[in-house]
Amino acid sequence: MNAQPSPPTSDLEYRWGRNFQEKAIEAMLFLAAFLAVAVTASIMVILVTESVGLFQTVSIVEFLTGTEWAPMFEPPTYGILPLVCGTLMTSLIALIVAIPMGTLSAMYLSEFASLRAREWIKPSLEILAGIPTVVYGYFALLFVTPLLQKILPSLPGFNMLSPGIVMGIMIIPLVASISEDAMRSVPRELREGSYAAGATRFQTALKVVFPAAISGISSSYILSVSRAVGETMIVAIAAGLQPIITFNPLEPAATITAFIVQVSLGDLPHGSTAYQTIFAAGLVLALMTLVFNIFGHFLSKRYRENY
């Protein structure tokens, strides 16, 4: 392929040129890959440096344990607990929907469905994961909430229940596809052994396949927690924006993400207190999802090594 260099150039020189080119390309490819590290580092650096000003007016302990979040009022209070509470409540509702339905769907797809059915069902479920979240937010506010109000007439227009449910539906494909992969990678022999002992498909699915795939399945649960915690538009549109500590899903509440959106909508001068609070809130959010992500990937790594 490469034309040999003309006689005066020695073979050695040719090789040197080629080696140089190879090294240069490798260095460029490495830089591209290293960008991932640089991005993570700059996320952490930006979140810390832009929020550090806030911690000169309020102590970290007060920030993490305060129960009142009113940074725009006089006197301002900066206790992030109400936002954390809203985030965890909406995520909890989402998980109550997504985990059972996702697991059942995965079991059906992996253990019961025919090949043809699977070919059709899987891509259709994937569509749910591809719908823009702003569309889901619209759907929660203007379809699901009015629908729920027919059953619970006292439900306010903004509440945690409706966005939580919609978020759960959105997360079903995530749970289903990771859990299904985990269950399908359980060796055939285990199933056949169970069938030979007289177990039905249900008994095999529940007592053989599910326990064998448990680390993959639980990693899908943890990844879906981190997905729910970081979800923004659905809660920003449909959950209301009042930062109150409440465990009643029928009440409105603000999440960390919704607060960031709410503040971003207004005028946001660089370095102002409002500006610093969204970075502090973002820092809490990033650390929360980081912990879940690392834990989830650790679990999924473990199950990959099992077989």
Binding site: M1, R18, Q21, E22, E26, F30, A32, A33, L35, A36, V37, S42, I43, I46, T49, E50, L104, S105, Y108, P123, S124, L125, I127, G130, I131, P132, T133, V134, V135, Y136, G137, Y138, F139, L141, L142, I169, I172, G198, T200, R201, F202, S226, V229, G230, T232, M233, T257, I260, V261, S264, L265, L268, I278, F279, G282, L285, A286, T289, L290, G296
Partner: protein, 311 residues
């Protein structure tokens, strides 16, 4: 069976078998129902959007700028904005993502450095999109002083799409058997020649599928762009990239303010006016159609590829 079961035992056994079989079938039905519930919600969402928004979608809606008058408001500027932002995102994320994927799959030697990069890629894939928005706000908008511009938005979404491109590139390359690599080496190809002439062309189809899926996610992304302050009322087009005078190509559009389709929809959803609700539904229907088309194309591509490749 060597020992004949007594009549009584046989009946009991049959009963137990049919009972357990019934449970098994019931469970299958429950599983199917949970899938159906999810799909019914999907259908309800699509029907609701269309029933609310379809009447608003006409030629005028697609070609008019946003307006404070609900009657006249359209998505033209937002569509152009989405297109331009996607253009920037694609130009940045695709080459960098593929290059990173090649490095991790073909070049990286096992060791702490490769592990570090790998952990970071998987972690970035799980970072909430709004955190990318905060990064963009602090880094692109203020530290680099790029403002609320198309380039800021394009860069932000490029970072968001990057892990998707890296992961699909790696998966596509991993599927290529190593005999092909060895064959290229045996013919005297250098590593880069081997990658450029063999690995890359063979995996291009699958990589393209991943890129389209990544972009379909980026086009509907709202939160990170709201964070950089993109929710403004824009009624004018950015400068055209093609100019009538020399040098004919202009890049000033990169620094113009913009709006995109999901942001336009969000601003209409947050208005208390009923007329704008219909507009929001219409914008949502257009956005949904775009993402579904992209996803559908990716599925079609994946299906074709799976039929075509036989190693």
């Amino acid at each position: 069976m060597a020992i004949a079961l007594p009549e009584q035992g046989l009946i009991a056994l049959r009963k137990s078998v049919s009972r357990r079989q019934l449970y098994s079938n019931l469970f299958a039905i429950v599983g199917l129902i949970s899938i159906l519930v999810a799909l019914v919600v999907l259908v309800a969402l699509i029907i609701h959007l269309l029933s609310q928004g379809l009447t608003s979608i006409d030629w005028q809606f697609l070609t008019s700028p946003a307006s404070s008058d609900a009657e006249e408001a359209g998505v033209f500027i937002a569509l152009v904005g989405s297109g331009l932002v996607m253009l920037v995102t694609t130009t940045l994320a695709v080459p960098v993502g593929i290059a990173a994927g090649i490095y991790l799959e073909e070049y990286a030697r096992k060791g702490w450095l490769a592990d570090l990069i790998e952990i970071n890629v998987t972690n970035l894939a799980g970072v909430p999109s709004i955190v990318y928005g905060l990064l963009a706000l602090g880094l692109f908008k203020y530290a680099l002083n790029l403002g609320e511009s198309i380039i800021t938005a394009g860069l932000t979404l490029a970072l968001l799409v990057l892990p998707v491109v890296i992961v699909t590139t790696r998966e596509a390359m991993r599927a290529i058997p190593s005999s092909l690599r060895e064959a290229a080496y045996a013919l005297g190809a250098s590593k880069w020649r081997m990658v450029k002439d063999h690995i890359l062309p063979y995996s291009m189809g699958s990589i393209l599928t991943g890129i389209i899926i990544g972009l379909s996610r980026a086009i509907g992304e709202t939160a990170p762009l709201v964070t950089i302050g993109a929710l403004t009322f824009i009624t004018f087009l950015p400068d055209s990239p093609i100019q009538p005078t020399f040098p004919f190509i202009s890049f000033s559009w990169l620094l113009s303010p913009f709006t995109v389709l999901p942001i336009q929809m969000f601003s209409w959803v947050s208005r208390p006016d009923l007329a704008f609700e219909a507009k929001a539904a219409a914008a949502g229907a257009v956005l949904l159609a775009l993402t579904l088309l992209m996803n559908g194309f990716a599925s079609f591509l994946r299906y074709r590829l799976r039929k075509g490749i036989k190693w």
